[in-house]
């Protein structure tokens, strides 16, 4: 799921705040509960202590006065938590003579002032035991006996656990409410902060996007005097650099393209200029060789043969140069027709027969295709180049395999030609350059095998003009050239 920085920031801040308040709230509630329990236990303990102090001791009790004295010590504590605790004085009939929460002064019906020898008897409870017991309502009863052992009345200490729970709940509720308020405030704060921050990020992002779409003049203005401003300035500097670099590069490319074109035109003109002197030379040499200008002896004929062969080689190279520069400058213009591929390949093998025999090569053909549709002359050039290449680079006494086949793919028919030879092979890192004009694997290849390396470049131009593809594979010295051109339906 894609989540913007803004959402992430808001969520992060919210989560943090919620966790903090949850921890504080829970701690506070538990602490408060414990504190309340402690206070109640203390009060109850105090009550018990006070009552026990009187046990076994007779003293004069002016009821009202004594009670008020009593109240001043224990009851002050109890009164602070008067919704949790209460102290009552109950007579033998069960009537409430005094209720701390209801009245300040005790109202004893029929109470009279008399001297009594009263004593308190109370279960011998300890404070810690009381605390443990505060999980339900507590009632501590201190019966009061007079000197004659007559039970006159009881003082009862109440503690309401239910009330305590209610109070704690209220505290929790208060905590939740405060948490919610702070949550809303921090949510607003988080949104505000993240909007401010992400607004800058958005500005940066928009600018970067525009820039990447080619709008190299794009600049960002952020005046926040922080990292965003710094980032924007860095972006602007970078954009400026890139813009300048691209401008320089474009100029360089234009210059290179212009120079390359110039070079190609130069090559075309040069080859044309080279051909003209060759015409007269080749013409006359041939004329001489045919002894049209007089009879020649054996040595003269041999010399002329050598001159002629070299002139022809020169002529072939110049023709290739002229051809490739023409293809590059003007493109390849095709005249497709139906013709017998079989015938052409056989005629060509026939032409190469002397070279094939010289190296002791065996050519094996696996031809399924007779007629194809293509530019006959240009495809012949391709075949000638591939065949010459295979023969040139084959090791002596090896086999050359030629395969042709038609196949259909996506309702289109394709013609495939494949030629394999065994020889020096093509290094992996060089294979990608092999169809580039003037490319030879290394400069020594050209000396060893001759040629300036235009045959494959010309073949590529011609095959691509046919909307076809040409490729090469080299594996342990097995070199396979393969081209595919679409036929009808393509």
């Amino acid at each position: 799921m894609k989540m913007s920085i803004r959402t992430k920031m808001v969520l992060f801040i919210l989560l943090t705040v919620v966790i903090i308040f949850l921890v504080i709230g829970i701690y506070h509630s538990i602490f408060r509960m414990h504190e309340l329990k402690n206070r109640i236990a203390r009060d109850a303990g105090l009550f018990v202590q006070l009552v026990n102090k009187e046990v076994g001791r007779s003293f004069e009790l002016y009821f009202d006065n004594t009670f008020y004295k009593f109240r001043a010590t224990v009851l002050e504590h109890a009164r602070n938590n008067n919704d949790l605790t209460n102290i009552q004085v109950v007579n033998m009939e069960g009537s409430i003579l005094y209720d701390m929460n209801k009245t300040e002064k005790a109202s004893f019906p029929g109470a009279r002032t008399e001297i009594c020898q009263d004593r308190f008897i109370l279960a011998n409870l300890k404070t810690t035991e009381i605390i443990k017991k505060i999980d339900k309502d507590i009632k501590i009863i201190a019966p009061y006996f007079d000197d004659y052992g007559i039970h006159r009345f009881s003082i009862v200490y109440f503690f309401s656990f239910e009330q305590l729970q209610k109070q704690v709940k209220t505290i929790i509720g208060e905590n939740i409410f405060i948490s919610l308020v702070i949550l809303v405030i921090s949510l607003m704060g988080a949104i505000f902060v993240s909007v401010r921050i992400t607004a800058h990020i958005k500005t940066l992002l928009t600018a970067a996007k525009k820039f990447s779409e080619g709008n190299f003049g794009e600049r960002i203005i952020i005046k926040t005097n922080d990292e965003f401003e710094e980032l924007a300035n860095t972006f602007n500097t970078m954009a400026g650099e890139i813009k300048n670099n691209i401008k320089d590069l474009n100029e360089l490319i234009q210059e290179l393209v212009r120079r390359d074109e110039q070079k190609t035109i130069f090559v075309a003109n040069l080859s044309h200029e080279l051909r003209t002197p060759l015409t007269a030379s080749l013409g006359y040499i041939d004329y001489l060789q045919k002894q049209k200008l007089g009879a020649l002896n054996k040595e003269q004929l041999h010399s002329i043969e050598v001159i002629k062969r070299n002139l022809e080689r020169l002529n072939n190279e110049i023709r290739s140069l002229l051809q490739i520069s023409k293809y590059i400058l003007e493109g390849v213009k095709l005249e497709p027709q139906k013709f017998s591929f079989e015938e052409i390949i056989n005629a060509m093998l026939n032409n190469f027969q002397p070279h094939i025999e010289e190296k002791g090569l065996v050519v094996k053909q696996e031809s399924q295709v007779k007629d194809i549709i293509a530019d006959r002359d240009k495809l012949s050039t391709v075949l000638e180049n591939l065949l010459a290449n295979a023969i040139k680079f084959a090791d002596p006494k090896t086999e050359i395999h030629i395969t042709t086949q038609n196949y259909a793919e996506d309702s289109k028919t394709y013609f495939l030609f494949r030629i394999t030879n065994q020889g020096v092979g093509i290094p992996e890192e060089k294979i990608q350059y092999i169809f580039e004009p003037f490319y030879q694997i290394d400069s020594s290849t050209s000396r060893k095998y001759g040629g300036v390396g235009l045959g494959l470049a010309i073949a590529k131009q011609i095959i691509e003009a046919h909307s076809g593809t040409i490729g090469v594979k080299s594996n342990n010295g097995m070199v396979t050239f393969e081209f595919i051109i679409p036929q009808q339906g393509g």
């Binding site: 044309h272 051909r275 003209t276 002197p277 060759l278 015409t279 007269a280 030379s281 080749l282 013409g283 006359y284 041939d286 004329y287 045919k290 049209k292 002529n315 023709r319 002229l322 051809q323 023409k326 213009k333 005249e335 002359d377």
Partner: protein
């Protein structure tokens, strides 16, 4: 009767070679170094075939051919183009412009004579 052939080429060595071959083959040969000279010869001589180089100084081969086509007296003289260009596309243009044949440089004496004899055979058969 000897056939008259006019060769127009700015390369003297080519004129020399072609002239030599044609003379040996028993043709009457006229040579011109540019289109102007060629047109002058055409005014004075009855020419049976013109071998015309395309790349000529000032007026090129195409232009000279167009000038001949607009001249009543010259428009029916057959022209074979000589060129160092290789593409068949040029050949089509040459033939469209009215050239009777298209001979690629370099050529041997044998090739040249074969083509010329074919041209004359064609002219004779078609009564041009």
């Amino acid at each position: 009767m000897k056939k008259n052939i006019l060769v127009v080429d700015d390369e003297e060595d080519i004129l020399d070679f072609v002239g030599r071959v044609l003379k040996d083959a028993n043709f009457s040969v006229f040579t011109a170094k540019d289109a102007k000279q060629g047109l002058t010869i055409l005014q004075n001589e009855k020419i049976d075939l013109i071998l015309l180089d395309i790349m000529l100084p000032e007026i090129d081969g195409w232009e000279m051919m167009r000038m001949m086509r607009s001249d009543e007296n010259l428009k029916n003289i057959p022209v074979a183009m000589l060129t160092a260009r290789v593409d068949a596309y040029d050949k089509i243009i040459g033939l469209k412009e009215g050239a009777i044949d298209y001979i690629c440089k370099p050529f041997t004496a044998e090739q040249l004579l074969n083509r010329i004899s074919n041209i004359f055979k064609y002219i004779k058969e078609n009564n041009l």
